[in-house]
Amino acid sequence: MARFILRRLLQALLVLVVMSFVIYNLIGLMPGDPIDAMAAGNPDMTPEAVAHLRQIYGLDQPLLLRYGHWLSGAAQGDFGFSRVHARPVLQVLMPALLRTCELMLLGFVVAVALGFGLGILAALRPGGLVDGLIGLFAFAGISVPVFWLALMLILLFAVELHWLPAGGVADLGDGGFADRARHLVMPVATLALAGTGIFIRYVRAAMIETMRMDHVRTARAKGAREGRVVLAHALRLALLPPVTVMALHFGALFGGALVVETMYARPGMGKMIYDAILGNDYNLALCGLLFATLVTLLSNLMADLAYGWLDPRITTQ
Protein backbone atom coordinates (compact mmCIF):
# COMPACT_ATOMS: atom_id res chain seq x y z
CA MET A 1 0.00 0.00 0.00
CA ALA A 2 2.71 2.47 1.03
CA ARG A 3 4.68 1.49 -2.07
CA PHE A 4 1.66 2.07 -4.26
CA ILE A 5 1.12 5.57 -2.85
CA LEU A 6 4.82 6.36 -3.16
CA ARG A 7 4.91 5.22 -6.78
CA ARG A 8 1.82 7.24 -7.63
CA LEU A 9 3.27 10.34 -5.95
CA LEU A 10 6.45 9.95 -8.01
CA GLN A 11 4.34 9.64 -11.17
CA ALA A 12 2.45 12.79 -10.20
CA LEU A 13 5.74 14.61 -9.69
CA LEU A 14 6.86 13.50 -13.14
CA VAL A 15 3.64 14.78 -14.72
CA LEU A 16 4.12 18.08 -12.90
CA VAL A 17 7.67 18.52 -14.20
CA VAL A 18 6.57 17.72 -17.76
CA MET A 19 3.65 20.12 -17.41
CA SER A 20 5.87 22.87 -16.03
CA PHE A 21 8.07 22.53 -19.11
CA VAL A 22 5.13 22.61 -21.53
CA ILE A 23 3.41 25.53 -19.80
CA TYR A 24 6.67 27.47 -19.46
CA ASN A 25 7.18 27.27 -23.19
CA LEU A 26 3.56 28.10 -23.98
CA ILE A 27 3.68 31.15 -21.72
CA GLY A 28 6.84 32.24 -23.51
CA LEU A 29 4.79 32.14 -26.72
CA MET A 30 2.11 34.50 -25.42
CA PRO A 31 1.98 38.00 -26.92
CA GLY A 32 4.51 40.49 -25.56
CA ASP A 33 6.54 39.96 -22.43
CA PRO A 34 6.54 41.47 -18.92
CA ILE A 35 8.91 44.27 -19.96
CA ASP A 36 6.51 45.35 -22.73
CA ALA A 37 3.83 45.69 -20.09
CA MET A 38 6.16 47.80 -17.91
CA ALA A 39 7.27 49.96 -20.83
CA ALA A 40 3.69 50.51 -21.94
CA GLY A 41 2.85 52.09 -18.59
CA ASN A 42 5.87 54.38 -18.51
CA PRO A 43 6.53 56.97 -21.23
CA ASP A 44 10.04 57.74 -19.90
CA MET A 45 11.42 54.30 -20.84
CA THR A 46 14.02 54.46 -23.61
CA PRO A 47 14.71 51.46 -25.84
CA GLU A 48 18.08 51.15 -24.07
CA ALA A 49 16.39 51.01 -20.69
CA VAL A 50 14.01 48.36 -22.03
CA ALA A 51 16.91 46.27 -23.29
CA HIS A 52 18.69 46.72 -19.97
CA LEU A 53 15.62 45.61 -18.04
CA ARG A 54 15.28 42.54 -20.30
CA GLN A 55 18.88 41.69 -19.45
CA ILE A 56 18.31 42.13 -15.70
CA TYR A 57 15.25 39.90 -15.79
CA GLY A 58 17.06 37.39 -17.99
CA LEU A 59 14.46 37.71 -20.75
CA ASP A 60 17.18 37.99 -23.40
CA GLN A 61 18.27 34.42 -22.70
CA PRO A 62 16.94 31.43 -24.62
CA LEU A 63 13.72 29.93 -23.28
CA LEU A 64 15.33 26.60 -22.41
CA LEU A 65 17.99 28.22 -20.24
CA ARG A 66 15.36 30.32 -18.46
CA TYR A 67 13.35 27.18 -17.78
CA GLY A 68 16.43 25.49 -16.33
CA HIS A 69 16.92 28.41 -13.94
CA TRP A 70 13.29 28.36 -12.93
CA LEU A 71 13.33 24.60 -12.34
CA SER A 72 16.44 24.65 -10.17
CA GLY A 73 14.93 27.52 -8.19
CA ALA A 74 11.63 25.70 -7.84
CA ALA A 75 13.43 22.58 -6.60
CA GLN A 76 14.75 24.73 -3.73
CA GLY A 77 11.32 26.17 -2.99
CA ASP A 78 11.84 29.45 -4.86
CA PHE A 79 9.03 29.85 -7.38
CA GLY A 80 9.94 33.37 -8.39
CA PHE A 81 8.35 36.77 -8.08
CA SER A 82 4.96 37.91 -9.28
CA ARG A 83 5.40 40.88 -11.59
CA VAL A 84 1.99 42.46 -11.02
CA HIS A 85 1.84 41.91 -7.28
CA ALA A 86 5.58 42.50 -6.68
CA ARG A 87 5.70 39.74 -4.09
CA PRO A 88 6.94 36.14 -4.10
CA VAL A 89 4.51 33.96 -6.04
CA LEU A 90 3.71 31.67 -3.13
CA GLN A 91 2.74 34.63 -0.93
CA VAL A 92 0.31 35.80 -3.59
CA LEU A 93 -1.06 32.34 -4.35
CA MET A 94 -1.71 31.03 -0.85
CA PRO A 95 -4.60 33.35 0.15
CA ALA A 96 -6.12 32.96 -3.31
CA LEU A 97 -5.75 29.18 -3.07
CA LEU A 98 -7.59 29.10 0.26
CA ARG A 99 -10.45 31.15 -1.18
CA THR A 100 -10.70 28.89 -4.24
CA CYS A 101 -10.57 25.76 -2.07
CA GLU A 102 -13.46 27.14 -0.02
CA LEU A 103 -15.47 27.65 -3.22
CA MET A 104 -14.49 24.31 -4.77
CA LEU A 105 -15.12 22.25 -1.63
CA LEU A 106 -18.51 23.84 -1.02
CA GLY A 107 -19.45 23.42 -4.68
CA PHE A 108 -18.25 19.82 -4.60
CA VAL A 109 -20.12 18.96 -1.39
CA VAL A 110 -23.34 20.48 -2.71
CA ALA A 111 -22.93 18.65 -6.04
CA VAL A 112 -22.23 15.30 -4.35
CA ALA A 113 -25.12 15.66 -1.89
CA LEU A 114 -27.60 16.67 -4.59
CA GLY A 115 -26.15 14.18 -7.07
CA PHE A 116 -26.56 11.25 -4.70
CA GLY A 117 -29.90 12.36 -3.31
CA LEU A 118 -31.52 12.94 -6.67
CA GLY A 119 -29.69 10.08 -8.39
CA ILE A 120 -30.95 7.52 -5.86
CA LEU A 121 -34.43 9.04 -5.94
CA ALA A 122 -34.51 8.74 -9.75
CA ALA A 123 -33.30 5.13 -9.63
CA LEU A 124 -36.09 4.02 -7.29
CA ARG A 125 -38.61 4.16 -10.13
CA PRO A 126 -36.85 4.34 -13.50
CA GLY A 127 -39.10 5.77 -16.20
CA GLY A 128 -41.45 7.45 -13.75
CA LEU A 129 -42.34 11.11 -13.60
CA VAL A 130 -39.81 11.89 -10.84
CA ASP A 131 -37.09 10.15 -12.85
CA GLY A 132 -38.01 12.20 -15.92
CA LEU A 133 -37.92 15.52 -14.07
CA ILE A 134 -34.62 14.71 -12.35
CA GLY A 135 -33.20 13.62 -15.70
CA LEU A 136 -34.21 16.91 -17.28
CA PHE A 137 -32.57 18.80 -14.41
CA ALA A 138 -29.39 16.74 -14.81
CA PHE A 139 -29.20 17.41 -18.55
CA ALA A 140 -29.84 21.11 -17.99
CA GLY A 141 -26.99 21.22 -15.47
CA ILE A 142 -24.57 19.55 -17.87
CA SER A 143 -25.62 21.68 -20.83
CA VAL A 144 -25.77 25.20 -19.45
CA PRO A 145 -22.73 27.42 -20.13
CA VAL A 146 -21.35 28.23 -16.65
CA PHE A 147 -20.61 31.88 -17.41
CA TRP A 148 -24.06 32.46 -18.83
CA LEU A 149 -25.72 30.79 -15.86
CA ALA A 150 -23.76 33.18 -13.63
CA LEU A 151 -24.98 36.10 -15.75
CA MET A 152 -28.58 34.98 -15.54
CA LEU A 153 -28.40 34.48 -11.76
CA ILE A 154 -26.90 37.96 -11.39
CA LEU A 155 -29.63 39.35 -13.64
CA LEU A 156 -32.36 37.67 -11.64
CA PHE A 157 -31.21 37.74 -8.02
CA ALA A 158 -28.98 40.82 -7.96
CA VAL A 159 -30.28 43.19 -10.64
CA GLU A 160 -34.01 42.43 -10.60
CA LEU A 161 -34.78 41.11 -7.13
CA HIS A 162 -31.89 42.63 -5.12
CA TRP A 163 -31.78 39.51 -2.96
CA LEU A 164 -28.10 38.69 -3.28
CA PRO A 165 -24.90 40.63 -3.99
CA ALA A 166 -23.74 40.50 -7.62
CA GLY A 167 -20.12 39.76 -6.75
CA GLY A 168 -17.19 40.14 -4.40
CA VAL A 169 -16.30 38.28 -1.22
CA ALA A 170 -17.89 40.50 1.43
CA ASP A 171 -19.50 43.92 1.77
CA LEU A 172 -17.21 46.79 2.67
CA GLY A 173 -17.17 47.30 6.43
CA ASP A 174 -19.08 44.10 7.11
CA GLY A 175 -17.37 40.79 6.42
CA GLY A 176 -19.14 38.80 9.15
CA PHE A 177 -20.05 35.16 8.60
CA ALA A 178 -23.57 35.86 7.34
CA ASP A 179 -22.29 38.46 4.90
CA ARG A 180 -19.62 36.15 3.52
CA ALA A 181 -22.16 33.36 3.23
CA ARG A 182 -24.52 35.61 1.26
CA HIS A 183 -21.70 36.30 -1.18
CA LEU A 184 -21.10 32.58 -1.57
CA VAL A 185 -24.65 31.49 -2.44
CA MET A 186 -24.64 32.29 -6.18
CA PRO A 187 -21.02 31.25 -6.85
CA VAL A 188 -21.48 27.90 -5.11
CA ALA A 189 -24.80 27.24 -6.83
CA THR A 190 -23.31 28.10 -10.23
CA LEU A 191 -20.26 25.92 -9.67
CA ALA A 192 -22.23 22.98 -8.24
CA LEU A 193 -24.81 22.66 -11.01
CA ALA A 194 -22.64 21.07 -13.71
CA GLY A 195 -21.23 18.51 -11.27
CA THR A 196 -24.69 17.76 -9.91
CA GLY A 197 -25.93 16.89 -13.39
CA ILE A 198 -23.04 14.52 -14.06
CA PHE A 199 -23.24 12.83 -10.65
CA ILE A 200 -27.01 12.32 -10.90
CA ARG A 201 -26.58 10.43 -14.16
CA TYR A 202 -23.81 8.17 -12.89
CA VAL A 203 -25.43 7.49 -9.50
CA ARG A 204 -28.76 6.70 -11.18
CA ALA A 205 -27.22 4.32 -13.73
CA ALA A 206 -25.10 2.54 -11.11
CA MET A 207 -28.04 2.22 -8.70
CA ILE A 208 -30.36 0.77 -11.34
CA GLU A 209 -27.65 -1.76 -12.20
CA THR A 210 -27.01 -2.86 -8.62
CA MET A 211 -30.67 -2.91 -7.62
CA ARG A 212 -31.06 -5.84 -10.05
CA MET A 213 -28.24 -7.85 -8.46
CA ASP A 214 -28.60 -11.07 -6.51
CA HIS A 215 -27.35 -9.76 -3.19
CA VAL A 216 -30.01 -7.04 -3.23
CA ARG A 217 -32.69 -9.67 -3.90
CA THR A 218 -31.27 -11.78 -1.07
CA ALA A 219 -31.42 -8.81 1.27
CA ARG A 220 -35.04 -8.24 0.34
CA ALA A 221 -35.81 -11.95 0.77
CA LYS A 222 -34.33 -11.82 4.27
CA GLY A 223 -36.93 -9.20 5.02
CA ALA A 224 -34.61 -6.21 5.25
CA ARG A 225 -36.46 -2.93 5.08
CA GLU A 226 -36.41 -1.13 1.70
CA GLY A 227 -34.48 1.85 3.04
CA ARG A 228 -31.77 -0.46 4.35
CA VAL A 229 -31.68 -2.44 1.10
CA VAL A 230 -31.17 0.73 -0.92
CA LEU A 231 -28.72 2.52 1.34
CA ALA A 232 -26.70 -0.35 2.81
CA HIS A 233 -26.77 -3.11 0.21
CA ALA A 234 -27.13 -1.43 -3.16
CA LEU A 235 -25.49 1.93 -2.60
CA ARG A 236 -22.09 0.68 -1.51
CA LEU A 237 -21.52 -1.24 -4.72
CA ALA A 238 -23.09 1.54 -6.74
CA LEU A 239 -20.54 3.99 -5.35
CA LEU A 240 -17.70 2.79 -7.58
CA PRO A 241 -18.47 4.43 -10.95
CA PRO A 242 -19.56 7.77 -9.44
CA VAL A 243 -16.40 7.94 -7.32
CA THR A 244 -14.24 7.74 -10.45
CA VAL A 245 -16.26 10.47 -12.08
CA MET A 246 -16.09 12.61 -8.97
CA ALA A 247 -12.31 12.42 -8.84
CA LEU A 248 -11.99 13.18 -12.54
CA HIS A 249 -14.40 16.04 -12.02
CA PHE A 250 -11.86 18.04 -10.00
CA GLY A 251 -10.17 19.25 -13.18
CA ALA A 252 -13.48 20.52 -14.54
CA LEU A 253 -14.32 21.93 -11.12
CA PHE A 254 -11.19 24.04 -11.26
CA GLY A 255 -12.10 25.32 -14.71
CA GLY A 256 -15.55 26.10 -13.35
CA ALA A 257 -14.02 27.96 -10.41
CA LEU A 258 -11.99 30.05 -12.85
CA VAL A 259 -15.15 31.12 -14.68
CA VAL A 260 -17.20 31.58 -11.51
CA GLU A 261 -14.51 33.72 -9.86
CA THR A 262 -14.21 35.86 -12.97
CA MET A 263 -17.97 36.34 -13.22
CA TYR A 264 -18.56 37.10 -9.55
CA ALA A 265 -15.31 39.09 -9.11
CA ARG A 266 -13.93 36.80 -6.40
CA PRO A 267 -10.15 37.10 -6.01
CA GLY A 268 -9.26 33.38 -6.07
CA MET A 269 -6.84 31.13 -7.95
CA GLY A 270 -8.92 30.95 -11.11
CA LYS A 271 -9.30 34.70 -11.48
CA MET A 272 -5.65 35.12 -10.54
CA ILE A 273 -4.51 32.74 -13.30
CA TYR A 274 -6.77 34.50 -15.79
CA ASP A 275 -5.45 37.95 -14.81
CA ALA A 276 -1.86 36.66 -14.75
CA ILE A 277 -2.18 35.34 -18.32
CA LEU A 278 -3.70 38.62 -19.49
CA GLY A 279 -1.08 40.67 -17.61
CA ASN A 280 2.01 38.69 -18.69
CA ASP A 281 2.73 37.69 -15.09
CA TYR A 282 4.74 34.61 -16.13
CA ASN A 283 5.66 33.15 -12.74
CA LEU A 284 2.22 33.58 -11.26
CA ALA A 285 0.44 32.04 -14.26
CA LEU A 286 2.86 29.11 -14.31
CA CYS A 287 2.58 28.32 -10.60
CA GLY A 288 -1.17 28.78 -10.63
CA LEU A 289 -1.54 26.28 -13.48
CA LEU A 290 0.79 23.82 -11.77
CA PHE A 291 -1.21 24.07 -8.55
CA ALA A 292 -4.36 23.34 -10.51
CA THR A 293 -2.68 20.28 -12.04
CA LEU A 294 -1.45 19.11 -8.63
CA VAL A 295 -4.96 19.33 -7.16
CA THR A 296 -6.34 17.18 -10.00
CA LEU A 297 -3.53 14.62 -9.74
CA LEU A 298 -4.01 14.23 -5.98
CA SER A 299 -7.76 13.85 -6.33
CA ASN A 300 -7.19 11.05 -8.86
CA LEU A 301 -4.89 9.32 -6.39
CA MET A 302 -7.52 9.58 -3.68
CA ALA A 303 -10.09 8.04 -6.01
CA ASP A 304 -7.80 5.04 -6.57
CA LEU A 305 -7.37 4.62 -2.82
CA ALA A 306 -11.13 4.87 -2.35
CA TYR A 307 -11.70 1.99 -4.82
CA GLY A 308 -9.74 -0.39 -2.62
CA TRP A 309 -11.90 0.56 0.33
CA LEU A 310 -15.20 0.34 -1.56
CA ASP A 311 -14.49 -2.90 -3.36
CA PRO A 312 -12.01 -5.17 -1.57
CA ARG A 313 -11.65 -7.26 -4.76
CA ILE A 314 -9.66 -4.43 -6.34
CA THR A 315 -6.09 -4.47 -5.10
CA THR A 316 -3.76 -1.53 -5.36
CA GLN A 317 -0.99 -3.39 -7.12
Partner: protein, 311 residues
Protein backbone atom coordinates in the same frame (compact mmCIF):
# COMPACT_ATOMS: atom_id res chain seq x y z
CA UNK B 1 -44.39 -0.80 -50.25
CA UNK B 2 -45.24 1.54 -47.39
CA UNK B 3 -43.28 1.63 -44.17
CA UNK B 4 -46.23 0.21 -42.27
CA UNK B 5 -46.32 -2.75 -44.63
CA UNK B 6 -42.64 -3.41 -44.03
CA UNK B 7 -43.20 -3.21 -40.31
CA UNK B 8 -45.90 -5.83 -40.64
CA UNK B 9 -43.70 -8.25 -42.53
CA UNK B 10 -41.61 -10.09 -39.96
CA UNK B 11 -39.72 -12.10 -42.56
CA UNK B 12 -38.12 -8.95 -43.85
CA UNK B 13 -37.00 -7.82 -40.41
CA UNK B 14 -33.68 -9.60 -40.53
CA UNK B 15 -32.97 -8.28 -44.00
CA UNK B 16 -33.62 -4.71 -42.89
CA UNK B 17 -30.40 -4.78 -40.97
CA UNK B 18 -29.25 -3.50 -37.65
CA UNK B 19 -29.41 0.18 -38.59
CA UNK B 20 -33.08 0.07 -39.40
CA UNK B 21 -33.81 -1.60 -36.08
CA UNK B 22 -31.71 0.98 -34.32
CA UNK B 23 -33.58 3.81 -35.99
CA UNK B 24 -36.86 2.21 -34.99
CA UNK B 25 -35.67 2.04 -31.38
CA UNK B 26 -34.45 5.63 -31.58
CA UNK B 27 -37.89 6.79 -32.75
CA UNK B 28 -39.37 5.54 -29.49
CA UNK B 29 -37.02 7.75 -27.46
CA UNK B 30 -39.13 10.89 -27.24
CA UNK B 31 -36.43 13.23 -25.89
CA UNK B 32 -34.01 12.02 -28.55
CA UNK B 33 -36.49 12.57 -31.37
CA UNK B 34 -37.46 16.01 -30.04
CA UNK B 35 -33.75 16.89 -29.86
CA UNK B 36 -33.18 15.77 -33.43
CA UNK B 37 -36.00 18.06 -34.57
CA UNK B 38 -34.66 20.91 -32.43
CA UNK B 39 -31.17 20.50 -33.88
CA UNK B 40 -32.46 20.52 -37.46
CA UNK B 41 -34.39 23.71 -36.66
CA UNK B 42 -31.29 25.29 -35.09
CA UNK B 43 -29.28 24.40 -38.17
CA UNK B 44 -31.93 25.94 -40.43
CA UNK B 45 -31.93 29.02 -38.18
CA UNK B 46 -28.14 29.39 -38.57
CA UNK B 47 -28.35 28.89 -42.35
CA UNK B 48 -31.20 31.40 -42.63
CA UNK B 49 -28.47 34.06 -42.35
CA UNK B 50 -27.89 33.73 -46.12
CA UNK B 51 -31.43 34.47 -47.31
CA UNK B 52 -31.80 37.16 -44.62
CA UNK B 53 -28.62 38.93 -45.74
CA UNK B 54 -29.72 38.66 -49.37
CA UNK B 55 -33.23 39.94 -48.69
CA UNK B 56 -32.43 42.81 -46.35
CA UNK B 57 -28.93 43.74 -47.42
CA UNK B 58 -27.80 43.76 -43.79
CA UNK B 59 -24.16 42.98 -42.91
CA UNK B 60 -23.55 41.10 -39.64
CA UNK B 61 -20.20 42.83 -39.02
CA UNK B 62 -21.07 46.39 -40.01
CA UNK B 63 -21.29 48.70 -37.02
CA UNK B 64 -23.71 51.63 -37.01
CA UNK B 65 -23.02 53.76 -33.95
CA UNK B 66 -26.12 55.87 -34.56
CA UNK B 67 -28.31 52.80 -34.15
CA UNK B 68 -26.93 51.30 -30.92
CA UNK B 69 -29.38 49.34 -28.74
CA UNK B 70 -32.27 49.98 -31.15
CA UNK B 71 -35.41 48.16 -30.06
CA UNK B 72 -37.00 45.54 -32.28
CA UNK B 73 -38.32 46.99 -35.52
CA UNK B 74 -39.39 45.90 -39.00
CA UNK B 75 -35.77 46.21 -40.15
CA UNK B 76 -34.10 44.72 -37.05
CA UNK B 77 -36.43 42.01 -35.76
CA UNK B 78 -34.51 41.53 -32.52
CA UNK B 79 -33.12 45.06 -32.40
CA UNK B 80 -29.44 45.98 -32.58
CA UNK B 81 -26.48 45.29 -30.31
CA UNK B 82 -24.02 47.62 -28.59
CA UNK B 83 -22.37 48.47 -31.94
CA UNK B 84 -25.64 48.93 -33.84
CA UNK B 85 -25.41 45.59 -35.65
CA UNK B 86 -28.45 43.47 -36.36
CA UNK B 87 -28.80 41.07 -33.42
CA UNK B 88 -30.82 38.41 -35.25
CA UNK B 89 -28.39 38.18 -38.16
CA UNK B 90 -25.44 37.97 -35.77
CA UNK B 91 -27.18 35.20 -33.83
CA UNK B 92 -27.57 33.26 -37.08
CA UNK B 93 -24.00 33.77 -38.29
CA UNK B 94 -22.68 33.18 -34.76
CA UNK B 95 -24.62 29.93 -34.74
CA UNK B 96 -22.88 28.78 -37.92
CA UNK B 97 -19.50 29.46 -36.32
CA UNK B 98 -20.35 27.82 -32.99
CA UNK B 99 -21.87 24.72 -34.59
CA UNK B 100 -19.02 24.40 -37.08
CA UNK B 101 -16.40 24.64 -34.32
CA UNK B 102 -18.33 22.04 -32.35
CA UNK B 103 -18.44 19.54 -35.22
CA UNK B 104 -14.93 20.15 -36.61
CA UNK B 105 -13.14 20.01 -33.26
CA UNK B 106 -15.06 16.86 -32.36
CA UNK B 107 -14.23 15.16 -35.65
CA UNK B 108 -10.53 16.05 -35.44
CA UNK B 109 -10.19 15.23 -31.73
CA UNK B 110 -12.31 12.13 -32.22
CA UNK B 111 -10.10 10.90 -35.06
CA UNK B 112 -7.05 11.39 -32.85
CA UNK B 113 -8.69 9.60 -29.92
CA UNK B 114 -9.95 6.82 -32.18
CA UNK B 115 -6.49 6.23 -33.65
CA UNK B 116 -4.86 6.17 -30.20
CA UNK B 117 -7.53 3.91 -28.73
CA UNK B 118 -7.52 1.47 -31.67
CA UNK B 119 -3.74 1.14 -31.72
CA UNK B 120 -3.50 0.77 -27.93
CA UNK B 121 -6.27 -1.82 -27.83
CA UNK B 122 -5.24 -3.77 -30.91
CA UNK B 123 -1.50 -4.04 -30.32
CA UNK B 124 -1.59 -4.13 -26.50
CA UNK B 125 1.65 -4.59 -24.61
CA UNK B 126 4.09 -1.72 -24.52
CA UNK B 127 2.23 0.46 -27.08
CA UNK B 128 -0.87 0.14 -24.94
CA UNK B 129 0.97 1.01 -21.73
CA UNK B 130 2.65 4.09 -23.18
CA UNK B 131 -0.46 5.42 -24.93
CA UNK B 132 -2.75 4.87 -21.98
CA UNK B 133 -0.34 6.45 -19.47
CA UNK B 134 -0.25 9.44 -21.81
CA UNK B 135 -4.05 9.47 -21.96
CA UNK B 136 -4.34 9.25 -18.17
CA UNK B 137 -1.91 12.15 -17.89
CA UNK B 138 -4.05 14.24 -20.24
CA UNK B 139 -7.21 13.41 -18.32
CA UNK B 140 -5.62 14.69 -15.12
CA UNK B 141 -5.01 18.14 -16.60
CA UNK B 142 -7.26 21.08 -15.85
CA UNK B 143 -8.53 21.67 -19.40
CA UNK B 144 -9.95 25.17 -19.25
CA UNK B 145 -6.83 26.95 -17.88
CA UNK B 146 -4.75 24.97 -20.37
CA UNK B 147 -7.03 26.01 -23.24
CA UNK B 148 -6.73 29.64 -22.15
CA UNK B 149 -2.92 29.42 -22.30
CA UNK B 150 -3.11 27.73 -25.71
CA UNK B 151 -5.62 30.32 -26.91
CA UNK B 152 -3.32 33.13 -25.75
CA UNK B 153 -0.31 31.88 -27.74
CA UNK B 154 0.92 34.55 -30.14
CA UNK B 155 1.07 32.91 -33.57
CA UNK B 156 3.66 35.41 -34.83
CA UNK B 157 6.08 33.96 -32.27
CA UNK B 158 5.57 30.60 -33.97
CA UNK B 159 6.71 32.07 -37.29
CA UNK B 160 3.36 32.92 -38.87
CA UNK B 161 3.05 36.28 -40.60
CA UNK B 162 1.26 39.02 -38.66
CA UNK B 163 -1.54 39.24 -41.25
CA UNK B 164 -2.26 35.55 -41.09
CA UNK B 165 -1.90 35.36 -37.30
CA UNK B 166 -4.47 38.07 -36.69
CA UNK B 167 -6.96 36.97 -39.34
CA UNK B 168 -10.37 35.61 -38.49
CA UNK B 169 -9.54 32.30 -40.14
CA UNK B 170 -6.52 31.83 -37.87
CA UNK B 171 -8.66 32.44 -34.77
CA UNK B 172 -11.23 29.95 -36.06
CA UNK B 173 -8.77 27.16 -36.86
CA UNK B 174 -6.76 27.83 -33.73
CA UNK B 175 -9.74 27.19 -31.48
CA UNK B 176 -10.74 24.10 -33.47
CA UNK B 177 -7.23 22.66 -33.20
CA UNK B 178 -6.58 23.43 -29.53
CA UNK B 179 -9.89 21.93 -28.44
CA UNK B 180 -9.23 18.87 -30.61
CA UNK B 181 -5.77 18.55 -29.07
CA UNK B 182 -7.02 18.37 -25.48
CA UNK B 183 -10.46 16.76 -25.81
CA UNK B 184 -9.83 13.31 -27.28
CA UNK B 185 -9.20 11.25 -24.14
CA UNK B 186 -12.75 10.03 -23.59
CA UNK B 187 -13.02 8.67 -27.12
CA UNK B 188 -9.56 7.06 -26.89
CA UNK B 189 -10.57 5.13 -23.78
CA UNK B 190 -13.88 4.02 -25.24
CA UNK B 191 -12.22 2.96 -28.51
CA UNK B 192 -9.59 0.98 -26.59
CA UNK B 193 -12.14 -0.79 -24.41
CA UNK B 194 -14.32 -1.63 -27.41
CA UNK B 195 -11.31 -2.89 -29.39
CA UNK B 196 -10.24 -5.14 -26.51
CA UNK B 197 -13.71 -6.63 -26.37
CA UNK B 198 -13.83 -7.61 -30.06
CA UNK B 199 -10.23 -8.43 -30.91
CA UNK B 200 -10.29 -11.94 -29.44
CA UNK B 201 -13.56 -12.90 -31.14
CA UNK B 202 -13.34 -15.80 -33.59
CA UNK B 203 -13.97 -13.83 -36.79
CA UNK B 204 -11.16 -11.43 -35.93
CA UNK B 205 -8.80 -14.27 -35.09
CA UNK B 206 -9.76 -16.03 -38.30
CA UNK B 207 -8.98 -12.93 -40.35
CA UNK B 208 -5.65 -12.53 -38.57
CA UNK B 209 -4.81 -16.19 -39.14
CA UNK B 210 -5.47 -15.77 -42.85
CA UNK B 211 -2.81 -13.09 -42.97
CA UNK B 212 -4.70 -9.79 -42.82
CA UNK B 213 -2.55 -6.75 -42.09
CA UNK B 214 -3.02 -4.70 -38.95
CA UNK B 215 -4.39 -1.62 -40.73
CA UNK B 216 -6.84 -3.68 -42.77
CA UNK B 217 -7.88 -5.54 -39.64
CA UNK B 218 -8.64 -2.34 -37.77
CA UNK B 219 -10.53 -0.78 -40.67
CA UNK B 220 -12.51 -3.79 -41.84
CA UNK B 221 -13.15 -5.77 -38.68
CA UNK B 222 -12.53 -3.73 -35.56
CA UNK B 223 -13.89 -0.29 -36.54
CA UNK B 224 -17.38 -1.39 -37.66
CA UNK B 225 -17.77 -3.33 -34.44
CA UNK B 226 -16.77 -0.48 -32.14
CA UNK B 227 -18.80 2.12 -34.09
CA UNK B 228 -21.82 2.39 -31.84
CA UNK B 229 -20.18 3.50 -28.57
CA UNK B 230 -17.97 5.85 -30.60
CA UNK B 231 -20.94 7.51 -32.28
CA UNK B 232 -22.54 8.15 -28.90
CA UNK B 233 -19.27 9.52 -27.51
CA UNK B 234 -18.88 11.79 -30.56
CA UNK B 235 -22.34 13.23 -30.00
CA UNK B 236 -21.70 13.99 -26.34
CA UNK B 237 -18.31 15.50 -27.21
CA UNK B 238 -19.93 17.99 -29.60
CA UNK B 239 -21.93 19.42 -26.71
CA UNK B 240 -18.85 19.81 -24.54
CA UNK B 241 -16.85 21.39 -27.39
CA UNK B 242 -19.58 23.97 -28.03
CA UNK B 243 -19.42 24.89 -24.34
CA UNK B 244 -15.60 25.17 -24.51
CA UNK B 245 -15.81 27.40 -27.57
CA UNK B 246 -18.41 29.58 -25.89
CA UNK B 247 -16.44 30.15 -22.71
CA UNK B 248 -13.13 30.68 -24.52
CA UNK B 249 -14.66 33.18 -26.93
CA UNK B 250 -16.43 34.86 -24.02
CA UNK B 251 -13.16 35.26 -22.12
CA UNK B 252 -11.51 36.65 -25.25
CA UNK B 253 -9.32 33.68 -26.23
CA UNK B 254 -11.46 32.19 -28.98
CA UNK B 255 -13.33 33.50 -32.02
CA UNK B 256 -12.22 37.12 -32.38
CA UNK B 257 -14.69 39.95 -33.07
CA UNK B 258 -16.03 41.25 -35.41
CA UNK B 259 -16.74 37.62 -36.45
CA UNK B 260 -19.62 36.63 -34.19
CA UNK B 261 -19.91 33.42 -32.23
CA UNK B 262 -22.50 32.74 -29.56
CA UNK B 263 -19.70 32.97 -26.99
CA UNK B 264 -18.13 36.27 -28.02
CA UNK B 265 -21.51 37.93 -28.50
CA UNK B 266 -21.62 37.82 -24.69
CA UNK B 267 -18.23 39.57 -24.32
CA UNK B 268 -19.84 42.71 -22.94
CA UNK B 269 -22.70 40.89 -21.31
CA UNK B 270 -21.64 41.79 -17.79
CA UNK B 271 -22.43 45.44 -18.56
CA UNK B 272 -25.40 44.55 -20.77
CA UNK B 273 -27.13 42.75 -17.90
CA UNK B 274 -28.14 46.11 -16.46
CA UNK B 275 -28.66 48.06 -19.72
CA UNK B 276 -29.90 45.63 -22.39
CA UNK B 277 -30.52 42.26 -20.70
CA UNK B 278 -32.06 40.74 -23.83
CA UNK B 279 -28.66 40.88 -25.56
CA UNK B 280 -27.20 38.93 -22.64
CA UNK B 281 -29.98 36.34 -22.82
CA UNK B 282 -30.32 35.37 -26.53
CA UNK B 283 -26.85 33.95 -27.32
CA UNK B 284 -26.61 32.03 -24.05
CA UNK B 285 -30.07 30.61 -24.50
CA UNK B 286 -29.15 29.35 -27.98
CA UNK B 287 -25.99 27.71 -26.61
CA UNK B 288 -28.02 26.12 -23.82
CA UNK B 289 -30.73 24.80 -26.15
CA UNK B 290 -28.17 23.46 -28.64
CA UNK B 291 -26.07 21.67 -26.05
CA UNK B 292 -29.02 20.18 -24.20
CA UNK B 293 -30.44 18.94 -27.53
CA UNK B 294 -27.09 17.39 -28.48
CA UNK B 295 -26.89 15.66 -25.10
CA UNK B 296 -30.42 14.30 -25.35
CA UNK B 297 -29.64 13.12 -28.87
CA UNK B 298 -26.63 11.23 -27.51
CA UNK B 299 -28.85 9.70 -24.85
CA UNK B 300 -31.35 8.65 -27.50
CA UNK B 301 -28.63 7.09 -29.65
CA UNK B 302 -27.27 5.19 -26.67
CA UNK B 303 -30.75 3.86 -26.04
CA UNK B 304 -31.15 2.90 -29.70
CA UNK B 305 -27.77 1.17 -29.92
CA UNK B 306 -28.10 -0.84 -26.74
CA UNK B 307 -29.74 -4.16 -27.65
CA UNK B 308 -30.75 -4.68 -24.03
CA UNK B 309 -32.81 -1.50 -23.93
CA UNK B 310 -36.55 -1.87 -24.31
CA UNK B 311 -37.92 -0.79 -27.70
Amino acid sequence: MTLAAIDATPVLDAALGAWHLRFRRFRTHRAGMASLVALVLLLLFALAAYPLEWLTGLDPDMADLLARFDPASARHWLGTDEAGRDELLRLMVGGQISLLVGVLATVLGGALGLAIGLVAGYFGGRADAVLMRFTDGMIALPLLPLLIVLGAVDLTKLGFSADLAHSGAAAFWRIVLIIALVDWTGIARIARAATLSVKERDFVRAARASGAEAFYMMRAHILPNVATPIIVAFTLTIGRVILFEAVLSFLGFGIAPPTPSWGNMLNNAQELVTTAPALAIYPGLLIFVTVIAVNFLGDGLQHAFDPRSQP
